[in-house]
């Protein structure tokens, strides 16, 4: 599991010992073709990393299911839910048989409490990722206005 965790940007730069600690809070899940990982509006608890397979993200717009992304090996989704339990903004469905690694908020918060040094590294990476996403959204909106 460690090689897969190494590919996740959130865990970039972490030592093998740190990754071993994270491994303890990672849950391996297997999804069958067309199986829903989570529904849109469902309260989110955590993020998933695609280990093997394909995941499709869809969103209901004007009562229609619109495909917004397809994620393959090493890609991850649902990371916003690691910070708060708001409803999911999209639905995630397995396109083919997919193996994913789930990391969930209660476990992550426990890890942060137990190991603040490691916790701060993960939170810093998560904040950087969210900041970059916010910057991109702002730039897009600005372009629309201009």
């Amino acid at each position: 599991m460690i090689p897969v965790l190494r590919t996740v940007p959130l865990f970039e730069g972490l030592t093998f010992r740190d990754l071993k600690k994270i491994e303890l809070i990672v849950h391996e899940r297997t999804f069958m073709p067309d199986e829903v990982v989570f529904y849109e509006r469902q309260p989110g608890t955590g993020m998933y990393v695609v280990k093997k397979g394909l995941i499709q993200l869809t969103k209901t717009i004007n009562e229609e299911n619109v495909k917004i992304a397809e994620l393959g090996e090493g890609e991850f989704f649902g990371e916003m839910s690691l910070l708060e339990g708001y409803p999911r903004s999209a639905q995630a469905t397995a396109v083919i048989k997919t193996e994913a690694l789930g990391i969930f908020r209660p476990d992550l918060f426990d890890l942060i409490e137990r190991n603040p040094r490691l916790g701060s590294k993960i939170l810093m990476k998560l904040s950087q990722r969210l900041a970059s996403r916010l910057r991109k959204t702002t730039e897009m909106k600005l372009k629309e206005v201009v």
């Binding site: 303890l24 809070i25 849950h27 391996e28 899940r29 297997t30 999804f31 199986e35 829903v36 990982v37 989570f38 529904y39 509006r41 469902q42 309260p43 989110g44 608890t45 955590g46 409803p87 789930g102 969930f104 209660p106 476990d107 426990d110 409490e113 137990r114 190991n115 603040p116 040094r117």
Partner: protein
Amino acid sequence: MERNEFQKVWKAFEIIAIGCVLLGILLVLYLIRGLLTPFIIAFVVTFFLNPVVDYMEGEGINRTFAVLLLIILTLIFLFILWKLTWPTIQTEISSFQKNAPFYESKIREGLNHAMELLEKKTVFIPEGVLQRAMQHKINDLTSTMGDVGSLFQIVRGFVVTFVLIQVIAFFLLKDGRRIKKVLIAYVPNKYFETFLTLLHEIDQQISNYIRGQFTDALIIGVLAIIGLYLFGIRYAISIGAIAGIANIVPYIGPLLGMTFGALLMFIDTGSIMDVFKVVGVLAFVKSLDSIAISPLVVGRSVNVHPLMIIIVISLGGLLHGVWGMLLSVPLYCSMRVSLRILYRGFVEYGNW
């Protein structure tokens, strides 16, 4: 339409299946309840020591080494405590054993007199009915209480159980997270996130409650023993220890501890002054606890209305005696948090 009907039937089947699995687990636990005591105590020990192990691990100490070190330190502490207090406890038990027939006759005499008076004042109760019923109850009580020598056997049996508890606690502290991970791996994907949140919330509720109540009980027990000892009460350690243990049960426990101490003093010495001393010390310790200790140690660990706690404890006691009283509050809290999360997940967000 047909697909919808099929989905509805399938969901109903799923609910029934989950219910059956839960009932099955409860049934198995009920059938092996005799073997559960060391496990329950080991769980309590684990909840109590886990934050210390977590802290040590956070400081960079290997978890296995931290658990071993903590268990060895606990054993050394208990051994020193045992060496210091056992002679006094032994004297108290021997004294109680020697005086048991005297206490029994005194209780019998006092209650007989009370029943006789009651029968005389109440015309509709035939003479002797209450006295015979009371005699029957006292005989039951003395057959349980009379064999005080068995206390030594209980202590000996406890040593064996004690070793078992240490072994279980060691593995729970060391591999608790791994065991939890393996167990929840079998939960279907659909319910996994809800189940994980549920488990976490229940764990928080129970560990907060256990840590708070046990620390509080320990402090109360030590303070009561010191207070009673300073007032020269004969069974200071026993009464203080029972008052501390009773305190684990909120609201009702302290009253039971106080009643036990007062009754024992009244039967032993017959002196109202001694009874006042015991009640005074225990009431003072309880007040000190309510004002200064409990808010710090227990805090708002469960956040349940006092009236609800009393109802829940009474129900627990009615259904399962002492264990029922001890476990009723954490069980109630777990059920409350489960219903809240299930309602949020399945009803509010329409994923049912």
